[in-house]
Every structure is written in C-alpha cells, then in structure tokens.
Amino acid sequence: MIAYLTAIATLVGVRALLTLGLNVQWGLTGLVNLGAVAFFAVGAYTSALLAVGGAPLVFAWPAAVGLATAAGAGLAMVALRLREDYLAIVTLGFGEVLRLFLLNEAWLTRGANGVTAIPRPLHARFAGHYDLFYLALVLVVVALVYAALERLRRSPFGRVLRAIREDEIVAAVAGKPVFRFKVQAFALGAGIAGLAGILFAHYLAYVEPNMFLPQESLFVWLALILGGSGNNRGALLGSLVLLGLLEGSRFAKDVIPFLTGVRLAAAQQILVGVVLVVLMIRRPEGLLPEQPGSD
C-alpha cells in the first residue's frame, strides 16, 4: 500500500507542477492555453533523448526546461495576438501537431516505439527505496516552484500580470508593454510544464507519443478549475483532488461487481466530465477561491 501511495503521490506532484504552470498563464495572466500537454511533452522528450544519448542530467534537465520555455515563447509570439476563442483552438492544435511530430519523426524521437530505458537519477545510490527518494525529489521541486511562484505573484511583475488579466487596456494605458509581459508569462508557464515533463519521463523511464493526448491538457484544466485558478494553493489542491477522484473510483469498482469493465471506465469518465461542467456553472472560482488583494 505504501508503494502504491508513493507512486500516486509522485504523479500528483507531477500534475501539480503542470497545474502551477497553467496557473501562471491562465490564473495569473488570463491567457488561454489548451495545449499544456505540448510543453509537458517537449520537456519529457528533450530530457529523455539527451539522457539516453549519454548526456549528463545536469545538462539534459536545464536544456529540456530551456527548450520547453522557448517553445512556449515561440507559440506565444505567434498566437497571443489572437482572440481568446481562436487561441483556444490554436493551442489545442499545437499540442496535436506536436504529438504527430513525435510519432512521425522517428529519426529524432524514435517514433511510435517511444524512448525506453531512460536513466533514473541516482538509482544505484538509493536502490531499495528508490521510489521514496524520487517522491522526495518531486516534492522538493514542487515546493521550490510553489515558493518561487508565490514570490512572483506578490512581486511587481506579478501585479502587472494580474493587471493584464483584469483589464489589458488599462494596463497598456498605464504604460506597461502588455504583449511582452504576456509572452513572458506564457513562456514561464511552458517552462514549468517542461519541468513536469522531465520528472515524469525519468520516473516512468519510458515515454511515447500517445502519453500526450489532448485530453491530458483537459485534465490539467480540470485540476486548476477544481482547486481555484489564480492561487497556487488551489492548483496543488486541485491536482490532489483530481487524482483522488480518478484513483478513488478504481477502488469503488472492486465492490460494484455488476458493471462491466468498459461501463465502469465510461462511468468514471462521465463523472469527470460532469464535475467539470457543474464546477464551471456553479463554482467557477474553485474550492479555494483567490483572495482579493492577497498580496
């Protein structure tokens, strides 16, 4: 049971990072991104391919974060001029095209086979209780990112981002280079998603393109909206509740014998969808609403 909970906690940590990244973009700055999974994938693949190719992790990890950030900045520069409904579609499409790229360009990404035998950091040193070590590593990263984002939120930079979210025009009139701030916020969020990807890839020791389907981006949204967008505590809580929901129904089914497997899986997904819709209608501020003026 401990090993199982360790695994779930590790994955909650990875999802929490993804949600924190999206919170910088949407929660803090009001930028739409339906392609969070794309930057997650860039981080995971970059680090995995470099590490498998023999690069030391101290080099592979910063390179992966860097590439995810750059990809975010690039997409932002092209797409952030768009109206938000178009932006939703462009970011969604970006994630899908990136997945096609990973699937097709086998010379670079190993294609549908995926990348196997990704090295696990310090595996030999922590043999025996490696999963606990890895969980600790993930939690430390989450804590550091959380602390940094809390500081950022209260900093002048964070105040500008929130001003842009509330009213872009007012912020522009106040003399802020709105577009530049938006690109920076988007890139930062993408970088954090890339970091999540790194931890994910080296935890599973295996990545393949279909881990990065569009519905993964939807789950990040669900976690953010569940917890309460705009505040980082909400992002953490949302990730925890989401995985609790997904894993909890796993145990529920062991005591409901009359449902077939397909029906149970479908029922679980129906529940996820219903929660999302009801939350959007009834409680768009989430479980932990952002405190007004909490800076």
Partner: protein, 404 residues
C-alpha cells in the same frame, strides 16, 4: 501490513473476485486466494479488444475455481483498465501490485503499456504476460518476468512474406500499415523477404489512425498497380480501408492479419467486400481440444483476435503456479513457465488435465487455444506454424498451414 488486515482488505475490495470463486471458497475455505491482475484496455484505442480478453481470463478462472483452485487455493482476480495509456497503465499496475498484491498481470495489450509497466513489475517480481508485439517488449534485462503469446513482428513479417512469395501471380506488392510501434519493423521484414525473392514493392505507406476515410491513401497505392495489397492494421481502420479499396474497384488480392479480418470485420463491411481477403496469424489449432473448450466457454470469443491468447495466458500462469506446489509468486511463475509450456512432457489442453498430471509428478507440455505456446529464453513465442485463411461467402476458411 499484517496478514489479517491484508485479508480484510482483500475481502473488502474484492467482492467481484470472491463472487466468482465462491464454490472454490466452500471447498477450500481455509486457503488464502491467489491474487492475479488483468490489465486490459477497456477504453482508448485498444478498447475494442480488451473486454473480450478480460472475459476470456474470467472464464478460465471460473473453471479453475470450480474445480477446486490451484493446489486447493482459489484464484482471485482484480481487473484494471489501462485506458490504452502508459501513465494510466502504470497507476493501475501499481495498484494491482501494491494494494492487491498480485503475483501476475495477464493480458496487457498495447506495447506502450507493457513497456511502461515492465520496469516496475520486474522490480516487484511480478510476472507479466501479454499480446504486445513490439520487439522492444522482450528486449533488455527483464530477468524472465516478461513473456508474450504474440509472435514478435520480425517473425510475423517473414511468415507473411513466405506465403506471398509462394503465390507466383503476385509480382507487384504494396504495403499499407496503420501507424503502430511495429508498422516499420513488420514492413522491413516483410518487404525484405519479398525483394530478395524478386518481387517488386510498388509502394509503402503508413497511415494515420482514426481518419474518417482513406480514399486518397487508396488512390495513391492503386496508382502503382499492385497485384497484392498487404494491409497491416487493426479491425476498425481495416474496415474503413477495405470499404475504400472496394469502392475504388480494386480487383487484386488483399492480405491482412487475421486479428484484423475477424468476424466483426466481415460483419462490418459485409460479405461482398470481405470476399477473397487472405489473412494469416499464428495458427490457432481449431481442431484442438483447447480451442473447442475455449469457444464453448467464451461466447463469441472466436470473433475476438486476442481472446484465445488471453485464455492461454491465464491457463499458463495457473499451470506454472500448480507446478510449484505451495508457494505462489511471480518468481515461481517465471521459473515454471517453460516447464509447463514447452516440450518434453505429456501434451495437455486444459488446466484440469495439466494440474492432475503435475499432481502425479509428470512433466507436461500445454498446447493452447491460440497455438502451441512454446517460449524461448527472452519470453517470445517460439517460431510457430501460421495459418492462412481466406474469406469465402462471409466466413474465413482455413486454406493451409505454413511452417517456418
């Protein structure tokens, strides 16, 4: 965790398994059940294959438990859905291993899922047996904890090619494949053999999944005037492809895997479109008692390509446990797998016969519903005979058996 609480947990969380094994519980009440997990795709891309595999496993376990279990211990099954998704598969496998304490995970499907759960199963000494075809599944140091009943793609490609070469009228061959982890390696093996035999490969096309039509893919391939189209896909995309090939008035031959050209396929496209399509697979021995028992126990199981394999996987795991007499663990299964599956030994076709002979101290050689089930050192099925079938008047009929 103490034994008491674990037992309570099993009781609380495993009503489904206990209902199935109730008769066995009555006959062997003092014995603790052996937990075994299934990890089939019930949703996602593999969702049309998983449910039948799971039904097959359940049917085997019902029979074993009714007959008194393995060395008087009933099997308790835990089912998880891998969602045809590696991450979901890892979470599910973790739960099976750490919460349900399963000794084996049977019937994984997607190569991606098997590859993702492989490291943690090897570490936890849990035996995994599935149908994933990618070569990398059985590669690497897995200490014997991985096996599969599906031949690796290289062997498949060479066997298909061997048949195609034997048909002298097929001088121009086109290869069309769904994008999967094995599309490339199957194609390389297949076209390699053909080219060496002097056959022209007119086109090689890998297509995207879940597309509403393949008209232009078909247009491109037919423009090269092939005598034979080798279509390497799954049932859902093969249905769309076969309809488009038929509409394009193609008059040549089509060869495909039998797991795609199954009864569901023929029902889906209609007898006329399916007429004449050649299909091949590892030869299930249709006349064998194992296949007969399987098709009687699993209604409509013969329509499912992987159900016979799932049947054999569960039977093999149970026989390997029976051979160990007492201890139940993943290690015991991997150590005994080849003892019960490979020659020498008396040929048996069911768990009941196998367990009885094992009890008498005899050696056995299980021959299953999906074929002979002999494994090599890395867990791959040993080169087995393939059956060639052709759809005639809405039914796939056996034409010949090809030996490697």
């Amino acid at each position: 965790m103490t034994t008491m609480t674990r037992r309570e947990l099993l009781k609380a969380s495993g009503t489904a398994g206990l209902v199935l094994s109730a008769p066995a519980i009555l006959s062997a009440q003092s014995k603790e059940p052996i937990p075994i997990g299934t990890l089939c795709p019930l949703t996602g891309a593999g969702g049309s294959y998983g449910p039948d595999m799971q039904r097959s496993v359940v049917a085997v376990v019902e029979r074993i438990n009714k007959a008194g279990g393995i060395n008087a211990r009933p099997i308790q099954l835990f089912h998880e859905d891998d969602q045809t998704n590696a991450e979901a598969g890892v979470r599910a496998a973790r739960k099976l291993i750490d919460v349900n304490k399963v000794v084996a995970i049977v019937s994984t499907w997607a190569s991606a899922v098997t590859l993702a759960v492989k490291p943690l199963c090897v570490e936890a000494r849990v035996f995994v047996i599935g149908v994933s075809g990618a070569d990398s599944v059985t590669q690497g140091d897995h200490k014997g904890y991985i096996a599969r009943t599906q031949p690796n793609t290289n062997l498949q490609g060479r066997m298909y090619a061997k048949f195609a070469v034997s048909k002298k009228e097929w001088k121009r061959v086109a290869y069309m494949a769904l994008q999967t982890p094995y599309a490339q390696s199957f194609g390389d093996a297949f076209t390699g053999v053909l080219k060496a035999a002097g056959v022209t490969i007119t086109d090689s096309l890998i297509y995207e999944d879940k597309k509403p039509s393949y008209r232009s893919e078909v247009t491109r391939v037919l423009a090269t005037n092939p005598d034979l189209i080798m279509l390497e896909g799954y049932t859902p995309d093969s249905v769309v492809m076969a309809k488009d090939i038929y509409r394009a008035a193609y008059k040549g031959a089509v060869l495909a895997p039998s797991f795609a050209i199954n009864a569901k396929f023929i029902e889906g496209v209609g007898a006329e479109v399916a007429e004449g399509i050649w299909n091949m697979d590892r030869a299930p021995l249709f006349d064998s008692p194992a296949y007969k028992e399987f098709s009687a126990a699993v209604p409509r199981g013969d329509q499912s390509p992987y159900a016979p394999q799932a049947w054999d996987q569960m039977t093999l795991v149970a026989l390997a446990l029976a051979a160990a007499k007492g201890e139940a663990s993943g290690t015991v299964i991997k150590d005994n797998l080849r003892t019960v599956s490979n020659p020498p030994g008396t040929v048996v076709y069911s768990f009941a016969d196998g367990a009885r002979l094992l009890g008498e101290g005899k050696k056995i050689n299980y021959e299953g519903a999906s074929g002979s089930c002999d494994f090599d050192q890395i867990g791959d099925i040993l080169s087995a005979p393939f059956s060639v079938q052709q759809v005639r008047k809405g039914k796939s009929e056996l034409v010949m058996i090809i030996n490697p």
